[in-house]
């Protein structure tokens, strides 16, 4: 039996970490993820977990400590947001290239500047090519469920990559909502014991971690990282299948909402997907064939699968909560359109940058996107493919 609870997204993440009981947590507080290590440190001092909690002096040190712990053979976790992730930047690449399956809770927030503490996805998009697995979560439930699945994915022998679970800062991290929790013992047996094949504290196998890697091998090592990324798709689906057996909650690489017979679709991530589902239902009542695709697994990017899922729609709007500032659409837009093109999907596509710096996105605004898609289908052309949603023009 699951446990009916009400928790904020941050409480949900901290609860998952409590149930996982990792060997090491190293973190530095930053809004809006501060509560995660804060709650977790309470579990440490109460003796609810036997984790070594390292209160570091910066995020660079937090990631370094996680790298050291994971290389030593321990299971390590951290949490951060925005500029905290920016300060980790150097070590983020080290973690993935050393193939250390560290798990991070990333509570998405705008990267300064100017200084802003509210939600957008600019922090996550900044590390999208760093070799981390990236899963996005619509609400507290998904932030929790994704964390419970995280170690099984990251630590799999065919993957061995660090993984970050994203959720929207404040919008879900600070909103109290219903959630179904899994019993402690079930989480424990689901997550399992961490048994790394190679680790520094194994005195029977002396090894070096992080030596020079020049012209002769770096290329091959990067190829191996890319292959591991590809392997992760299968592993993510296998773990999701086991998770569904335990909880009844089904997860894929992405979620399709009323997409089967849809003429038009919005592609988005995180909390906006919930609002979009309500809008889809509203439009369906009016006879408009709207659908939605919510990307859960952003890295690896399921390009082929998404192109296929969108093969019956006539027009697609991709919503990016981060502006790539390149004059050519957001990062998710680029990924979706390139995936569609390569796989022969010729539906019309339009990019919307929205919700920057915590700008609230309303159901009415989402509805206006579907009406724009109706116009695109009617005229069979996209006049301006690079658009904004909710931007004040005057």
């Amino acid at each position: 039996m699951s446990i009916r609870e009400r928790l904020s997204g941050n409480e949900a993440a901290a609860t998952a970490m409590k149930q996982i009981n990792p060997d090491v947590v190293a973190a530095f507080p930053i809004t809006p993820s501060t509560e995660i290590p804060q709650y977790f440190s309470t579990f440490v001092s109460n003796g609810t977990v036997d984790t070594e909690f390292v209160a570091v002096e910066s995020e660079h040190s937090a990631m370094s400590a996680c790298i050291g712990a994971e290389a030593a053979g321990a299971r390590a976790m951290t949490a951060t947001s925005a500029n905290g992730l920016s300060l980790m930047w150097e070590m983020i690449y080290i973690a993935s290239s050393l193939r250390l399956p560290i798990v991070m809770s990333l509570v998405n927030r705008a990267v300064s500047g100017p200084l802003n503490i509210h939600n957008d996805h600019s922090d996550a998009m900044g590390v999208r090519d760093s070799g981390w697995l990236m899963l996005f979560s619509e609400n507290n439930q998904e932030a929790y469920d994704n964390l419970i699945m995280a170690h099984r994915i990251a630590e799999h022998k065919d993957v061995l990559l660090p993984l970050m679970i994203c959720q929207d800062g404040f919008i879900t991290s600070h909103s109290i909502e219903n959630i179904e929790l899994i019993e402690d013992e079930n989480v424990k047996s689901f997550v399992g014991k961490y048994e790394p094949k190679h680790y520094l504290l194994n005195d029977k196998e002396p090894m070096a971690v992080g030596p020079m890697d020049l012209q002769a091998y770096l290329f091959e090592h990067k190829y191996q990282q890319a292959e591991a990324m590809k392997n992760a798709k299968k592993v993510i689906l296998e773990v999701a299948k086991d998770f569904e057996k335990m909880t009844g909650r089904k997860y894929g690489l992405f979620e399709e909402y009323k997409l089967e017979d849809a003429e038009m679709a919005i592609v988005c991530m995180n909390s906006t997907a919930g609002t979009t589902k309500d809008v889809v239902d509203h439009l369906r009542q009016k006879g408009i064939k709207a659908g939605m695709l919510k990307v859960r697994v952003y890295r690896p990017f399921p390009a082929e699968e998404i192109a296929k899922a969108l093969s019956n729609v006539k027009a697609v709007a991709v919503l990016d909560k981060s502006d790539s500032l390149n004059g050519a659409g957001g990062a998710l837009f680029e990924d979706v359109t390139s995936g569609m093109y390569i796989n022969g999907n010729t539906a019309k596509v339009v990019s919307y940058v929205y919700g920057i710096g915590g700008r609230d996105t309303t159901a009415k605004e989402i509805e206006s996107v579907y009406h724009d898609l109706e116009d695109i289908i009617k005229s069979n052309k996209v006049d301006n493919p690079y658009r904004y949603l909710g931007l004040r023009k005057e």
Partner: protein, 194 residues
């Protein structure tokens, strides 16, 4: 559409506990089996600055994640906000507003710019001073919105809050009784402006 959905917007000032009250309301509704959301709108919050918090309460799972623009109910924790914040913006006329105030009907009607829905008042300062000996307007306002919205029966609400306070005030149990009294007194201190 979800006909069981009730949306509530709170207006207060930083430090008055509007956010806490919205979370306690979410808690109370959750305990009666509802789906809930309770979330503040974080700004550059500091003591005394206007703040907004929100509640959604429904019989069905809540998926929408945006602020509330057309609330069924509005709670005003501090009546000095009436002059600076458009508290009835988008408020449904089938709904109601409940204000912590001692101002007269004429002042309130003018301040609310002809809002046609129901207007309720409560002297939360008096309730708070009588029961807690200090000014904590959020506890009486929590009772006031429960009464006005009819989200749950008084008895169920009070039983529920007893449990919530035990949890919330685990480290200072001496304040539980006063807070319970504040809720009880508030439930009978609400007036409708006619």
């Amino acid at each position: 559409m979800d006909n069981s959905l009730v949306e509530i917007r709170w207006h207060g000032r930083g430090g008055q506990g509007a956010k806490t009250a919205s979370l306690l309301l979410a808690d109370a509704a959750f305990n009666t089996g509802k789906y809930i959301q309770g979330f503040p709108e974080y700004g550059p919050e500091r003591m005394g600055a206007p703040i907004t918090a929100y509640n959604r309460i429904s019989d069905n799972p809540i998926r929408i994640h945006s602020n509330i623009y057309e609330p069924d109910y509005v709670v005003v924790v501090d009546d000095t906000l009436l002059e600076s914040v458009d508290v009835t913006a988008g408020l449904k006329e089938t709904g109601a507003i409940v204000i912590n105030t001692t101002k007269d009907a004429k002042y309130l009607r003018d301040a609310l710019k002809g809002y046609k829905g129901k207007i309720y008042t409560i002297d939360a300062r008096k309730v708070s001073m009588e029961t807690l000996g200090k000014y904590f307007p959020n506890t009486p306002m929590l009772a006031a919105i429960v009464k006005v919205s009819g989200i749950m029966e008084d008895k169920v609400f009070l039983e529920d809050m007893q449990g919530s306070f035990k949890h919330k005030f685990a480290k200072k149990p001496e304040v539980i009784e006063g807070n319970m009294k504040a809720l009880e007194l508030a439930l009978t201190s609400i007036k409708e402006i006619s």
